[in-house]
């Protein structure tokens, strides 16, 4: 990996951020985690990220709102949605709104990694 890609993880369950960070850092990504969306969106003003992995259902600003905001302000950032409430409607809504991928929890790490790789390959 020549370039160090930056990945942001937003999930109100701490373990999701922690584990994603642990596993993605193994592959050489730089990962920052957030427990809610507001400070995460704030952070985007300071720093460029390549991928955002966000939970769908969160208190306050939810995953769909993160997606809409990001797509409006930073259309080049890839957004991957994960959710414990894997219902079809949510998936359809998310996919229509330009989400790169959608994973039900528990998320298989291999698949998440592959999805990120695909997104970044497209990016080149």
């Amino acid at each position: 990996m020549n370039k160090q890609y930056k990945i942001m993880v937003i999930d109100d369950e701490k373990i999701v951020g922690d584990m994603t960070k642990m596993t993605l850092e193994q592959d050489g990504y730089v990962v920052e985690t957030f427990l809610n969306a507001a400070p995460a969106l704030e952070r985007l003003k300071e720093e460029k990220f390549d991928v955002i992995v966000t939970d769908y259902k969160m208190k306050g600003i939810d995953g769909m709102e993160v997606l809409r905001t990001v797509k409006k302000l930073y259309p080049e950032i890839v957004v991957i949605m994960i959710t414990a409430f894997a219902n079809l409607d949510a998936a359809i809504e998310a996919l229509r709104s330009d989400v790169h991928d959608f994973f039900p929890k528990p998320v298989k790490i291999k698949e998440l990694k592959a999805s990120i790789q695909r997104a970044l390959a497209k990016d080149k």
Binding site: D27, N36, A84, K105, I109
Partner: protein, 887 residues
């Protein structure tokens, strides 16, 4: 879970209508199916939960809660179904269920699984369930002693309850709050700025961020912690804690009141085997075993929880929204050490994984641990017979000794002793053996402290994961270097437990060979079996030809963290007994030889999952769920009372559900209420069939059926075997006169079954229960044979005969020997033989049933020919070679 408990109450108060009447066989069979279904569902959820511990998934607490709720529901269903099948024979299982469910729910609520208030616990009484109560280090040492049966010094734990009582008695919580207040005031200026920015965030609607800023406790610096330490040092022990410790010391001192010395060691709540700050807290060595001295040392160890180092762990030790972390303490007898040292079960620098490194010096271990001396080094190969590869004797100028008045001191070593190795070859090998045992059990390289006393007895003092500094980038790109290793198998079967393991192949021919399994080997077997639990702690990997990731065995493999690939189809034929292989159960590949790159990768690339709260929670819950204690249904401990986990319950249920089907009394009713169809084949079997669903497809209405018309998978296979050319001997074997005489005497155990009168097969598409009576012997096969491996079982019973008991027993022995060759678990008592097997694929099942059919036919009259023991072996060989001639 409330609904479950409500249902439970209803269940106990309500008696099923007509509970005493025998159930019709069709009902029995459909309830049997229900048991299988709920059991399977439970095993699948269990497998799924175990799989999450492997680190392949990102999951959260919601997943754990939801999965557990589903699992508990399925197990409850299974118990309910078994009781409706057996007409409430096993109501006690509900009690066991309730107990386990209660404990798991306590864990889910963040509590200790057991409600415990003991202030002091001896190591021999400590089980893993008490790890919250005694701390990680104590629990670990107790596990080495109680589970691995290693020699650890006698000792006891002063528990977390004792800590909390001490804190409460001295009002330390309130005093800490006051101290915080004091420091906050001192830091007022910066705090003011915090408040301002918090207000800004709060106005912007970001209340969480605002709250976080206000809760910042950066002003709690080292001097704050120093003051907290003083609170502990100056505290007083509550009187009943003093008397509990005094009583324990009394026991520990035993005969030597004067000379007994103990080590007082930290064992903090989260200072477990995996946790990052293991070994950070205080240990006070060589404390005279008097209450006054122990009290002092105890308080010193408690105070170390708030040492300067603790600042960086502040959130763990003093979480804002939870009670402060508890510190348990271990009091263990000091070993009067002649020599001591450290063992690394791997070389932490070049990650050499085939040898252990022992460092040793005279006296206590401190000089070795602190690197104060040019110690002896021994390198020992990690497999039997533990060959010593290298001996380097250091120039040992110093040693640590225990002082009579307490404390330890470093003293010079006389010149004559400095260059003398401090261990004999035998001791070196024994240390290596124990180290390898611990590493295999822990599944990670270990850093072990040990001592040897005057009598040459080895004591293990501590074992923790070896910290390995990983050459970071080097491990990631290993793919290219893997190409030089020949691949023996690739993408065969399914991964049941991920991971990487290496060792010599041990091909399992018969289950009883498990006792010869060398530690560190790779088990390769045709079928999986829950009996593998015996070797799990020492297996490097497991490969099976058949099996599923949801079987009992796979669940145990996950429990013991053994890399496992099942259902490879070819494992036993491709891999050679004794060859060295590396099993990569990450990418499903088996390499010839030991692939160091992969083993290195395993050690350095593993994510420290156990630092995550949810992983620890799930792991703790699973200890009530997946371990299997009930292995052999033939053993006396196979009772509801001995079920300790959900897995035990499920295993018990499966076995007893089969026993209900096998119940011979049912056939009276079956015969009475059903129309029997006669088996119409060229051999005179005299078998009548009763079809309870899908077992027959008659071309025309009538009461006879040919082989073609049998659609019952297992029955067809058996009949096929009976009709195998040459096995059915229709000529009568001549009976000697005394054989005939004894045949006239009816045996009481057999007469009970004589009402049968006919040979009957109760069949469905996937099931057969065949009862045969040929002359004076009785033969029964109960079998379920489907495409779902886990449902499949064969139960075989043979008893009686017309000849005298010696000959009958010889025939039983002959049958037993043959059944063992087919890998059936057999139990022989006189002329009664019971054999069973389960968990094998449909094609294998059909093959086995075909052989059982041949065996039934072949052995029909064989007893009369078994004049002496020597002929038994001959007939066994003949049968196995396909030579079915008799006489």
């Amino acid at each position: 879970m409330k609904t479950l408990l409500e249902r439970l109450k209803n269940f106990f108060t309500k008696k099923a209508p007509g509970a005493d009447a025998k159930l019709p066989f069709k009902v029995v069979f459909s309830r049997f199916r229900q048991v299988l279904e709920s059991n399977n569902r439970a095993l699948e959820i269990m497998a799924d939960m175990g799989d999450k511990l492997g680190g392949n998934y990102i999951f959260d607490i919601n997943y754990i809660r939801k999965s557990y709720a589903e699992l508990a529901d399925s197990v409850f269903q299974s118990i309910y179904n078994l009781n409706s099948l057996s007409q409430n024979k096993y109501l006690y299982l509900h009690r066991i269920f309730e107990r386990i469910n209660d404990r798991v729910n306590r864990i889910l609520e963040g509590k200790s699984p057991l409600e415990q208030r003991e202030l002091v616990l001896f190591y021999r009484d400590i089980s893993w369930e008490m790890s919250d109560q005694v701390g990680g280090k104590n629990a670990g040492l107790a596990e080495l002693a109680n589970y691995l049966k290693l020699n650890v010094p006698q000792g006891f734990a002063i528990t977390a309850s004792a800590f909390r009582e001490f804190v409460e008695y001295n009002r330390i919580g309130e005093k800490i709050s006051a101290l915080k207040q004091k420091y906050r005031k001192a830091a007022k200026r910066s705090h003011k700025e915090d408040i301002m920015s918090a207000i800004t965030f709060a106005e912007g609607g970001e209340h969480d961020t605002a709250r976080e800023i206000l809760n910042e406790e950066d002003y709690l610096d080292e001097s704050f912690f120093a003051e907290v330490q003083e609170l502990f040092r100056k505290g007083k022990l509550p009187p009943h804690l003093v008397s509990s410790i005094e009583d324990a010391l009394d026991i520990l001192r035993g005969g030597d009141r004067e000379s007994c010395r103990i080590a007082v060691r930290s064992s903090a709540e989260k200072e477990d085997l995996e946790f990052s700050f293991a070994g950070q807290f205080e240990t006070v060595l060589n404390v005279p075993a008097s209450i006054k001295k122990v009290e002092e040392a105890y308080k010193e160890v408690l105070a170390s929880l708030y040492s300067a180092r603790a600042v960086s762990y502040r959130d763990l030790i003093m979480p804002r929204d939870k009670p402060m972390m508890a510190m348990s303490v271990g009091c263990i007898r000091m070993v009067d050490a002649v020599a001591s040292g450290v063992i690394y079960t791997s070389d932490p620098n070049n990650l050499n994984n085939d040898a252990v490194i022992i460092s040793a010096n005279w006296g206590l271990g401190k000089t070795v641990v602190d690197g104060l001396v040019d110690a002896d080094h021994f390198i020992v190969r990690k497999e039997e017979p533990y060959e010593i590869l290298e001996k380097k004797t250091g120039k040992k100028e110093l040693k640590a000794v225990a002082l009579r008045e307490g404390g330890i001191q470093e003293v010079g070593i006389p010149d004559s002793e400095q260059r003398k190795p401090c261990l004999s070859d035998e001791q070196i090998r024994e240390l290596a053996r124990q180290a390898v045992l611990i590493e295999h059990y822990m599944k990670k390289p270990q850093d072990i402290e040990w001592s040897i006393d005057k009598r040459g007895e080895i004591f293990i003092l501590q074992s923790r994961p070896l910290r390995i500094s990983s050459p970071a980038a080097a491990t990631r790109n290993i793919i290219s270097s893997l190409q030089k290793y020949p691949v023996l198998m690739e993408n065969r079967g399914k991964i049941a437990r991920r991971g990487i393991g290496a060792g010599r192949v041990f091909i399992l021919q018969r289950l009883e060979d498990l006792k010869n399994f060398p530690p560190g080997s790779v088990l390769v077997a045709r079928h999986d079996s829950s009996h593998f639990i015996k070797i799990m702690p020492k297996a490097s990997a497991i490969i099976t030809d058949t099996g599923t990731p949801t079987s009992h065995m796979s669940n145990i493999a996950r429990e013991f963290q053994v890399p496992t690939i099942v259902n490879t189809g070819v494992g036993t034929s491709v891999l050679k007994h004794g060859e060295e292989v590396t099993v990569d159960a990450e990418d499903n590949r088996i390499y010839a030889g030991i692939v160091k790159e992969l083993l290195t990768y395993r050690i350095t690339d593993e994510i420290p999952l156990m630092e995550l709260e949810e992983f620890r929670l799930l792991q703790k819950m699973l200890r009530y769920i997946t371990p299997l204690n009930l292995i052999d249904p033939l053993l006396e401990n196979f009772t509801p009372e001995n079920c300790r986990t959900f897995h035990d319950i499920l295993r018990f249920i499966h076995e007893k559900a089969i026993a209900e089907l096998v119940d011979i009394d049912r056939y009276k009713e079956v015969l009475r209420n059903n129309i029997a169809v006669k088996l119409d084949v060229p051999i005179p079997t005299g078998i009548f069939m009763i079809d309870i669903g899908g077992g027959l497809n008659l071309k025309e209405k009538g009461n006879r059926a040919s082989l073609d018309e049998i659609t019952s998978i297992p029955f067809r296979a058996i009949v096929g075997g009976m009709m195998h050319p040459g096995v059915w001997h229709s000529e009568a074997v001549s009976m000697k006169i005394n054989d005939f005489m004894s045949s006239m005497l009816k045996m009481p155990d057999v007469s009970a079954m004589s009402y049968l009168g006919e040979n009957v097969a109760v069949i469905s598409r996937e099931y057969v229960n065949l009862s045969l009576r040929f002359g004076y012997h009785f033969n029964m096969i109960d079998c379920y044979c489907s495409d779902n491996i886990r449902d499949n079982h064969v139960y075989f019973r043979f008893v009686g005969g017309a000849t005298d008991i010696t000959k009958r027993s010889r025939r039983a022995e002959l049958i037993g020997s043959i059944l063992k060759e087919f890998n059936m678990r057999t139990n022989l008592k006189g002329d009664l033989i019971i054999a069973r097997t389960d968990n094998i694929t449909r094609p294998e099942m059909e093959e086995l049933l075909d052989y059982l059919g041949r065996l039934i036919a072949y052995t029909r009259q064989l007893d009369a020919l078994l004049d002496d023991d020597s002929v038994v072996g001959r007939y066994v060989r003949n049968f196995l070679e396909g030579n079915y001639r008799i006489g």
